[in-house]
Every structure is written in C-alpha cells, then in structure tokens.
Amino acid sequence: MELWSYSETIAGVHKQMKQYPYELIALYMKENQTFKIEVETFCRHFTQREKVEKLEAFSYLPVKGQVKLKGPDVVFQYIEYYGIDPKAPPENPYMVFFGRWITNGLRQLIQDLSLKNRKFIGNTSMDPQLSLLMANQAQIHPGDIILDPFVGSGSLLVAAAHFGGYVLGTDIDYLMLHARTRPSRITQKKREKDESVKANMAQYGLDHKYIDVLVNDFAIQFWKDDIRFDAIITDPPYGIREATEKIGTSKENCTVSEQHLSTHIPAKIVYGLSSLFYDLLAFSAKHLKLGGRLVCWFPIFREDYQEDGLPRNPSLQLVANSEQILNKHTSRRLLTYKKMSEPINKVMEERNHITDFRTRYYDNREETRKERRMKRAMERN
C-alpha cells in the first residue's frame, strides 16, 4: 500500500487528505480510470451501512473516473485499526490509514488451500497457514525435490508443491496412505474411493509435482545412500493423537509362517520420541544436500523447555526456532535446521536425551485430574 496519510483520529486523516498536494495523487484520479474505495475495520465489526458512511466521508477527493467495484483500475484503501483484542475493541480506533492499494500478498493462499474443502484429510492434517510457513522456512525453489517422511494425508506436500517442489512422502500407516482409515470429518461416514495424497495434489492443479508416496517404516530406510533431497519438511507423530511406532516385536525368535505371509500385518512397537528425533536428524544429515533444510515440529513441555534440550546433530545447525503454544503446559516448536557439512561416519555422536513427551503429557494429566478431584471434594466438605 502506498500510504498517503495516517493519524490517531479519523478527522486527522481527512484533514491530511484535504490538504494533500493534488499533483501527487492526480495520476490515480484521471477521468478514464475506474476506482473503488475499500474500507477495512481491523478488529471491530461495522455494518455495511456504517462502512458506506465511512466511505462517503471521502466525497471531497478530486477523483474524476467512474466507480467500478469489480476489477477497478485503482483501489483506495481506508483502514481503521482497533487493536488486536476482538472481545473488547475501543470506541475509537487507535490508528487510521489511507492510501493506494498496490498489490495483494499471498494471504489468499491460506483460504485457497483450506482444509475445509480438501479432498483427503486426516486427524492431524496441518493447517494451511502453517504448512505454507514451513515450506517458506525450507526455502523451497521450483524444481527442488522435497521429502516428508511422516507424510500422512500430505498437507505439507501440498504447500511444498505450491512453491514448485517435486514431492515424495513416506508413512508407516498403510491404511492412511490408501485412505482406508476412518474419515476425519464428522459429516463424512465413509472415505471416498478416490481419496489420496495424489488426489489432493490434483485438486490444486499440482499433480505434476507429485512423485510418489511409499508405505515405509522411518526406522528402516530404503533410500539409496547417495540420494540427496533439497529439503525435508515433516510433522512427526508426538505419540498423543498419532502413535509413534516402528516395526518390531517384544517376542523373541518370532517368525511369520509361510501361510500367513501374504496377509500378515507387521507388529509394531513404540518408537520413542527421543530415538525418532535422533534418527530424523541423522537421516537429514545424510540425505539433505549441503545447505538444504530440515523443517519439523517438536513437542515440548513448556516448563521443561531449554534450548539445549532440543534434538541436535553435528552436521546440522539450528537456524530458526519458534513456538506455537498448544495449552498451558504444552507447546510445539517449529525447528529449522540447515545442513552445514557431510556427516563423519563412525563417530559416536553425543545423544541428547529428550524427556519423553508422551510420558510427561499423561503423567501431568493424571496429576491434574487427581488434583481436580481433590479440589472438588474440598469444596463439597
């Protein structure tokens, strides 16, 4: 926006605009130019009628062209800013702005990629705003190859493909990749036949950016040693809403008999968060190109948080770390790592012990539940 005037009062803006040197704005007010004035009131709702009144207050502007609401040549933007608390906006705005709208940002993408009308979603599909943000953090360029090793319904890949990445995904959950899990929408009784990560790509015209998804256990990698990805973006399971699992069994000498082989569903064991993240960083250190980025979420208990406690790897440098608060006790951090060097083989790396999020999460809940019960009992007595 080309800002022409701003003030702490509405009258102030009008006063400035009335005195504004005409030659500076004449360029946008010619006879053959159509125009419209947009009114935006940030954080306070006004009726259409009130908005029109605000708009008509600009009738003194020396515009010569015709009004055109759809696709005008020039848009004048008027903004009243009422702070950031929608519950208690003040009577008068804190700031008022007026000027010429130059161009739209990419915010519209958030609506375009909305989960509400996406073909295939899962219980933990990533919100489009955060997915786009992750793709930005990964600095995806057109023609890059991007991997999500915990792909799920592929919401991160949609954003990655939007910025030009060619996308690959893997997930241990066979039913998820084949869209045979229970539907995540409350209104939907059955999954449709053609739901898939590929269908999501096609929905946004990004199917030419889709390479493949594989059913694969992250703890057992099938990628060739010399494969390098341009970026890895992922939201690993935290063990709360999606299980942290890998293939394995606690039984000794277990074998699957020949007759069951074709239909056997492999047993899974818990894949502790600590070893999952250790593996994720080691995998990224190996399979990212130099300078390539790993962008991932990491769940934490807020009172335990220390930057030293974050997963680390000698080849990766943490370049960004931001927090999204989930509730009073927990949050998740969006971590961006950059690969600085090729990993040196056979060096025993220092393994950072990460408190298991899942254990902490449920321990804490148990306690608060007990406390709550005690409190209630106290009240009754």
Binding site: P142, V215, W223
Partner: protein, 124 residues
C-alpha cells in the same frame, strides 16, 4: 510408483543384503499419465540418476522408448531427449505389481501406485 522413485530405492537395509540395488520390477498394471513437462527439472535430475538402471527398468516393463544406453553428452539442449526422459521418469506409473529384492527375492507389493516397503517384525 514412478521409475524415478525406483531409481532411488534399495533393499540394502535388510538383513544379509549387501547391495540390494536395483530392485527388480514386476509390473501387472502400468498406466501412462500426461504430466506437465519441465525441462529444467529433468536436466537437473538426470545427473542424479543411475542412468543404466533407469534404462534397464524401463526395458523390463516394456516401456523403453529407445533410450540410449549411455547418456548423451549435451542432453540439456536436446528437448526431444529430455521429453523422452520426462516420459519415462514421471509419466509411467506402475499401479499394481511388485518390487523384488535382487538378493533375497523378498517381494514388496505395489497397490494403487503405492509400494509397501514394510518389513515384518521377524525381518528387522
């Protein structure tokens, strides 16, 4: 599954497998989809490929569109060649079939275009 993906996979992670590359392909149902051609992407990806493996893989499913045994020296400027590679890498999709470990013969089924690389608990 596309042949680009096949080019990147090995079964080396399995017990007793030393190379595990390339995986054999048994194609039951192969589809060809039209996909937007991006010459920059194809020229960027070619040096990362194992070229002979790609040619053999295309051969083995009967889709070798006269690909040369050896890479042409100046392929970046050869649009026809890039289009051919584009077709083989991205447009051919193995919808149903199997990937087979070259050393143990372990089969990994491909259903609906999605390979299932899960091992059983007695294999890990």
């Amino acid at each position: 599954m596309k042949l680009l993906t096949h080019n990147m996979l090995t079964s080396k992670c399995m017990k007793g497998v030393t190379v595990g590359y390339p995986l054999k392909i048994k194609a039951v149902d192969v589809k060809e989809n039209e996909i937007d051609f991006n010459p920059d992407f194809i020229s960027r990806i070619i040096p990362k490929l194992d070229w002979p493996v790609l040619v053999k893989a295309a051969d083995s499913i009967g889709k070798n569109d006269n690909l040369p045994e050896d890479l042409l020296p100046e392929y970046e400027s050869d649009t026809d060649f890039l289009k051919k590679v584009h077709h083989v890498l991205l447009e051919i999709d193995i919808v149903n079939g199997e990937l087979i470990c070259p050393e143990t013969g372990r089969k990994f089924p491909i259903n609906n275009g999605i390979p299932n690389m899960l091992l059983n608990e007695d294999e890990v």
